[in-house]
């Protein structure tokens, strides 16, 4: 992440544009005490012939919330889904560059994808609880690990649901089907499931886009509580949400990382014209 340390003295006007008319990414990152947890280095991705990501360099700070914003189709979700290699499921995906979790590379033939995914919880756009009971949903990562000890499972259910601020609402009906919960509860259940596996990183792909404002507020409060314990990456369309809950914000546009830095700066004093146009609502 040498580029991340670009000097504040550098002004946008002085920067060279590439052949497509894009300046290099502008960085003004708020560094955490523990440094970056997840580093993306010169990462590009192709769906078949079409290129979706262009040489992304980004470091998600440990224990902090990083949000990815940008107009539809700019590659935020693609980037997020590359981090736990969910894009492996899509036919014809090619990548170049590297991503490292705590210095351990995640692309390469020797990487154990399952072990990698266990270190990263993921929350999806649409709540996707499994057609099982609430308790079984939360303990699914433990079931995957082959844990059968009853007390351990019960503990995991309580911790997970408390961690996701859902315990008080469902503690009396843990055996009921998870599909009977409301949309917001289902999404918090999915967060509970993601943290029950005790991951280091939480990836959230527009976790509130299918929820009403109250449920959204609860999820945002939850993100606030979870930060510190987990490194959180959140993709969002909602700029207020990014402004409210993240420490750093990355603005992406047409597969490029345009500007990455402290959230307040991005929203109040963006360094680049493109970022300013987007956050002020001139396009997107």
């Amino acid at each position: 992440m040498s580029a991340a340390a670009s000097s504040p003295a550098e002004t946008p006007a002085a920067r060279q544009v590439d052949e497509y008319g894009y300046e290099p990414t502008f960085y003004h990152v708020k560094e955490g005490e523990k440094g970056p947890n997840l580093t993306i280095e010169d990462f590009s991705l192709w769906y078949g012939q079409s290129r979706a990501l262009w040489n992304i360099n980004l470091g998600a700070q440990k224990g902090m919330v990083t949000s990815l914003i940008g107009p539809s189709g700019c590659g935020k979700s693609t980037l997020l889904r590359s981090l736990n290699r969910m894009n492996d499921l899509v036919d014809g995906v090619k990548t170049s560059g590297q991503v490292a979790l705590d210095g351990m590379p995640i692309f390469g033939p020797a990487v154990d994808v399952i072990a990698l995914r266990k270190r990263m919880g993921m929350v999806f756009q649409k709540p996707n609880p499994f057609p099982m009971s609430i308790a079984e949903n939360v303990t699914y990562p433990l079931k995957v690990d082959g844990v059968t000890d009853k007390t351990m499972l019960a503990e995991a259910v309580e911790n997970g649901l408390k961690g996701a601020a859902l315990w008080d609402e469902v503690k009396d009906r843990l055996k009921d089907s998870a599909l009977g919960l409301s949309g917001g509860q289902q999404q918090r259940l999915c967060i509970a499931r993601a943290i029950a596996g005790n991951p280091e990183v939480l990836l959230m792909d527009e976790p509130c886009s299918a929820l009403d404002p109250i449920a959204t507020m609860k999820i945002e409060d939850l993100i606030d509580e979870l930060k510190g314990t987990y490194t959180i990456l959140i993709v969002t369309h909602n700029m207020q949400q990014a402004a409210r809950c993240s420490d750093n914000t990355a603005f992406m546009y047409l597969g490029r990382l345009i500007e990455y830095g402290e959230t307040d700066t991005i929203f109040t004093n963006p360094k680049l014209k493109r970022t300013e146009d987007y956050v002020t609502g001139r396009f997107g």
């Binding site: 499921l89 266990k118 499994f130 995957v144 089907s177 599909l179 009977g180 299918a210």
Partner: protein, 577 residues
């Protein structure tokens, strides 16, 4: 457009006028023009289904009802008695008409040359050589229903219609016995018959089986050690001794049997038909007798349900046209259950590989098309394949490896319930594969991703998330396969279904399920009774009853599967997305 308009209206407005939509509703957009065709198709389909089911139900449910016995006196003085079987109009030939009295002829001419005739089931096949007789309406002088006419169902020769003139019980002869006395004597006779049957099948049958087993022991010893080996000779001596004991038992039992039969022959009754011909009938050969012309509704109901009970729970007799279909019910159920057990894992695993593991491309598409086309291959082709591959190749090999002592009589090397189920499994597997693939494809991607993101492997995801979710769809495929398999007849005729099976595929002797045995099947039974029996007219009611039963069984099996499916579906209900 007139000139001044063209001058006054600016160009842009003119253009707008041209592109303005016509707001009037087109005729094709009014009303619902094709609804009559759609509703009509549904109505025609429903009518046909209701028609065929109604026909089957009507004939099926009325067959066992005790009919009146009508005594018909013709104008030439001939008298017959029997049940009215059916009536129809016909056109008498000119020569026939010439013989008809003038007044009847006038009536026939008034009806455009058509006359009525009625088919009577007169029974007494042993006396007449036929079961049915036609009577033209214009020939009939009188019909009446004498109260004492009796309908007697017998083990052999079909029913007897006539009167009971005498009862001879061990030499004691009663003339014109009461019906109660006859009934009492008949039930005693049935008890004797049971005893004789027990002795024949159970005890004498057991001795024969043991002797056969001993013979096979010698043969297998000869195969193992060679014919001249000391061990074989020892075995032969040992077996000879045992056989001697068994033969003594056999002789003893046979003597007992003969004395029982001689005793039984002393209990008879004398029957007389309407024309006065008499027949001596052993009481033990009577199934049931009744006098329908003087029976109350309750007595008739008793006979009706008694006949249903006999139909369902007893064995067939009289070349399958009488008696019951219990072996066919057991055979059909055993084969269908076995078929489901074979086809379910096979089809589901194939579909799992095709949908979840195989790389989707040209080859997989080709395989998929082939699988779909398999469903269109005529079922008799599967029968031929089953006979050639399963029975002769597989079964023949099994016989040579495991049952060499029984050769040349085959064990697995001929049609059997296992081969029939395998053949039908092959026939129905495309249905299961297609349905399972559809079900797997309909599992939302978000479910799989959720599971994988939790660190589950592909197999764990399939096992815990995909399969449970797809289970209702898989069940649908299985239900379709079961229904198709239970109703299939043509291939079964080649690979194990027989007209009359000596033993059931399920019984109480070890190992309880006999996969090598040939079996009876309701579908084949229908064909056999309807088209292969000596007396098609007598078999016809049984065709309807058996069809009704087959439909009821398939319905019951499907209802069970559907209720299981809906219980599974309910587990996934309530999903908001």
């Amino acid at each position: 457009m007139t000139d001044y308009a063209a001058k006054d209206v600016p160009m842009t407005a003119q253009a707008r006028v041209k592109t303005t939509r016509n707001y009037a509703t087109d005729l094709a957009a009014r009303g619902e023009p094709m609804v009559f065709a759609m509703g009509g198709s549904l109505a025609i389909g429903l009518l046909m289904i209701i028609g065929i089911l109604g026909l089957i139900a009507w004939f099926g449910f009325t067959t066992f009802w005790p009919q009146h016995i009508v005594q018909v006196t013709s104008k030439d003085g001939k008298v017959i008695a029997g049940e009215v079987f059916r009536s129809e109009s016909f056109k008498p030939a000119d020569a026939q008409l010439a013989a008809v009295p003038a007044e009847s002829r006038a009536k026939i001419e008034e009806d455009l040359g058509y006359a009525e005739r009625t088919l009577y089931r007169v029974g007494n096949y042993d006396l007449y050589g036929e079961d049915f007789q036609w009577r033209n309406e214009y020939d009939v002088a009188a019909t009446e229903m004498p109260a004492d006419m009796t309908f007697i169902e017998r083990q052999e020769w079909g029913p007897f219609v006539g009167r009971i003139t005498a009862l001879s019980l061990n030499g004691v002869v009663t003339q014109n016995p009461t019906l109660d006395a006859v009934n009492a004597a008949v039930s005693e006779g049935q008890a004797r018959r049971e005893a004789i049957l027990d002795l024949k099948t159970d005890e004498i049958g057991r001795i024969s089986t043991e002797m056969e087993e001993l013979r096979l022991e010698v043969k297998s010893a000869a195969l193992d050690y060679g014919a001249t080996d000391q061990r074989t000779l020892d075995k032969t001596a040992e077996v000879a001794e045992k056989t001697k004991a068994l033969e003594a038992q056999f002789a003893e039992k046979t003597t007992t049997l003969q004395s029982l039969q001689a005793e039984d022959a002393k209990y008879t009754m004398t029957l007389a038909d309407i024309g006065g011909q008499t027949k001596e009938q052993e009481l033990s050969s009577i199934v049931r007798l009744y006098q329908p012309n003087q029976m109350s509704l309750f007595e008739k109901l008793g006979i009706y349900f008694g006949r249903w009970g006999e139909f369902i729970f007893s064995e067939p007799r009289e070349a399958n046209t009488e008696g019951g279909v219990w072996p066919a019910i057991v055979g059909t159920l055993a084969m269908t259950v076995l078929l489901s057990l074979l086809v379910a894992p096979f089809g589901v695993m194939t579909a799992l590989y095709l949908r979840e593991y195989a790389k989707q491309g040209r080859l997989v598409s080709f395989v998929r098309i082939c699988v779909n086309n398999l469903a269109g291959v005529p079922s008799i082709v599967y029968g031929v394949f089953g006979l050639g591959f399963f029975c002769y190749v597989l079964g023949g090999t099994i016989d040579q490896l495991f049952f060499p002592e029984k050769l040349p009589s085959p064990t697995f090397g001929t049609g059997g319930v296992l081969w029939a189920a395998l053949t039908l499994a092959l026939l129905t597997v495309p249905v299961v594969i297609v349905a399972t693939e559809e079900a797997l494809a309909s599992v939302p991607r978000s479910m799989r991703e959720g599971s994988l993101a939790c660190g589950a492997s592909k197999w764990q995801t399939i096992r815990w998330i995909v399969l449970p979710r797809a289970l209702p769809g898989i069940m649908t495929g299985l239900i379709l396969a079961m229904a198709r398999g239970a109703g299939e007849v043509a291939p079964l005729m080649l690979v194990g279904v027989v007209k009359l099976a000596p033993e059931l595929p399920l019984d109480l002797s070890w190992p309880f399920i006999h996969l090598d045995r040939s079996f009876m099947h309701l579908g084949f039974h229908i064909y056999d009774v309807g088209f292969q029996s000596r007396n098609a007219e007598a078999g016809r009611p049984m065709v309807f009853v058996t069809t009704l039963l087959l439909i009821a069984i398939i319905l019951a099996m499907n209802a069970t599967a559907i209720s299981v499916r809906s219980r599974l579906k309910r587990r996934f209900a309530g999903s908001q997305f």
